[in-house]
Amino acid sequence: VFVEKGVLVADPLQILDCSPIPDGAAACILTTVELAKKMKRPYVRVTASAMATDTIALAQRDSLCWLKSTELAGQRALKMAGRKISDIDMVEVHDCFSIAEAIVTESLGFFKPGQGVKAAVAGETALDGKIPVNPSGGLKAKGHPVGATGIGQIVEIVKQLRGQAENGRQIKGNPKVGMTQNMGGSGASAVVHILEVA
């Protein structure tokens, strides 16, 4: 899809379309806003946590080019946070394979169906693009230590909201609203979080 040369894993995905499964760890501290204020440490607010499911069997889904669980979890999260998709300043998505990023950004509503790849190639998902996608590098570039991946996404959005992202990947313009999308079972279940500055 994005990669032109390399070892084919399953057509048309080449090895570099697939995220590597390394070791990794991530952690975050969850507490109330009141306690966070008392501790006098920088914090961000969790304004939405939503989940949705779909069938595990790909053959039983309505479409193979869409992730219904991600669409539903995204809509529920936006409703919970009282936000529109255009309010989101950046998003960390579960790009287990290069094609997954495109289907997820479309299913969440950032791009129209079929436009996800074009948008990424045009730079709309870059750090300075319309909607920065995976400033951390995502599963594909950062790695996909399965159990740590979801919290890893949260860690990245927290850093971005605090203006503390390292190595030149801080998104400019003081981002205020971030989203994470995680999934399992080829999208049989999906979880979307919205985090906002304190």
Binding site: V7, D11, A57
Partner: protein, 131 residues
């Protein structure tokens, strides 16, 4: 009970058996407890058709260890004539000649030899119709 016996006694494993939701009519293989379409919980089993069309497919070139001796092999989603969709391995065809939309026939084939005793397991596979 031995795992191989549990496997053999699952009705849908060795019969051409799918299920149809009594409320909305949607068809499933393997059977489900709850219909994701309408929430219905009552199903009737029926004999799935023998032929369908190839909806989409991929060729697995880096396979899980128990199937590595078979790689490269094709996996596809088949849409039966009655609307039932099912995923399975495609065998006996020329991988290069596979085409979306081509007709496929349902067959039973060996999947693998299970465990240390090498108990054979079989399952549904698909064969391009002209073979």
């Amino acid at each position: 009970m031995f795992p191989s016996r549990i496997w053999r006694e699952m009705p849908q494993r060795y019969r051409r058996e799918a299920s149809r939701c009594k409320k909305c009519g949607k068809r499933f293989y393997p059977p489900r407890l709850v219909c994701p379409e309408c929430g219905g919980r009552k199903f009737e089993t029926y004999n799935m058709p023998e032929t369908g069309k190839l909806e989409t497919f991929t060729v697995i070139r880096v396979a899980p260890s128990q199937f590595s001796d078979q790689a490269p092999y094709a996996i596809g989603v088949i849409a039966f004539d009655d609307g039932l969709q099912m995923m399975g391995q495609i065998v006996d065809g020329d991988l290069e000649a596979l085409k979306i939309g081509q007709e496929m026939r349902l067959e039973f084939r060996k999947v693998q030899a299970d465990g240390t005793h090498g108990v054979l397991s079989y399952a549904h596979k698909f064969v391009p119709k002209w073979y």
